[in-house]
């Protein structure tokens, strides 16, 4: 029973990984790519790590998997935010189809370097 739940979580996690990486290739803009790739791959990897808990039961492997889930959930959005801020500050333009840019409106004057 628990192996079946682990297999289902593993399949769903790998599906999220594949969809996130296809989004990393297909989307037109650095910000769109960042959004798709970071969310999907973080959720997919957390589901793979959660399936380790269901496969192996309570033990050293599953406790380390829980620590790794906590770590990935804490660090991945922080890194994505840092990359997006660095990209916007280093002057990379948004895609032509973007409708608004709230960060540039909030920092007018200091941000239009290009």
């Amino acid at each position: 029973m628990s192996e079946t739940i682990g297999l289902i979580l593993l399949i769903v996690g790998i599906m999220f990984d594949v969809v996130g990486c296809i989004g990393l290739v297909r989307l037109p803009d650095i910000y769109n790519r960042l959004q798709a790739a970071t969310k999907c791959v973080t959720l997919g990897t957390c589901m793979i790590l959660l399936s380790v808990l269901f496969y192996t039961g309570i033990g050293p492997i599953s406790m380390k998997a829980l620590v790794c889930i906590w770590f990935v959930l804490m660090t991945s959005p922080t890194g994505a935010h840092a990359i997006a801020r660095a990209a916007h500050r280093s002057g990379i333009r948004l895609w032509e189809g973007s409708v608004m840019d709230k960060y540039a409106e909030d920092h007018e004057g200091a941000e239009d370097k290009t």
Partner: protein, 84 residues
């Protein structure tokens, strides 16, 4: 299990395509970050196959190093302007 590993290798090739082609430097940084997260998934699947906790140790330390590398690259990119 080998099907899942093959799908993860396919994801890694998509990330490497973005690392090679990406027009700006933050594109490559995002792709390298995602590649690090995929390696954690590899370590999890290997620990399911072999029932050893060695691979989870590798996954935890890899997540830490990937995060530090991403922050360092972001701080480096923030300091200079790119014309693209």
């Amino acid at each position: 299990m080998s099907v899942f590993i093959a799908l993860l290798i396919f994801c890694c090739f998509l990330c490497l395509y973005r690392v090679g082609k990406g027009p700006t430097a933050p594109d490559r940084t995002v792709a390298i970050d995602i590649l690090g997260t995929l390696v954690v998934g590899f370590c999890a699947i290997y620990s399911i196959i072999t029932k050893k906790d060695l691979y989870m140790n590798i996954g935890i330390s890899w997540a830490l190093l990937s995060f530090i590398g991403t922050l360092a690259l972001a701080k480096y990119l923030e300091g200079r302007g790119f014309d693209e």
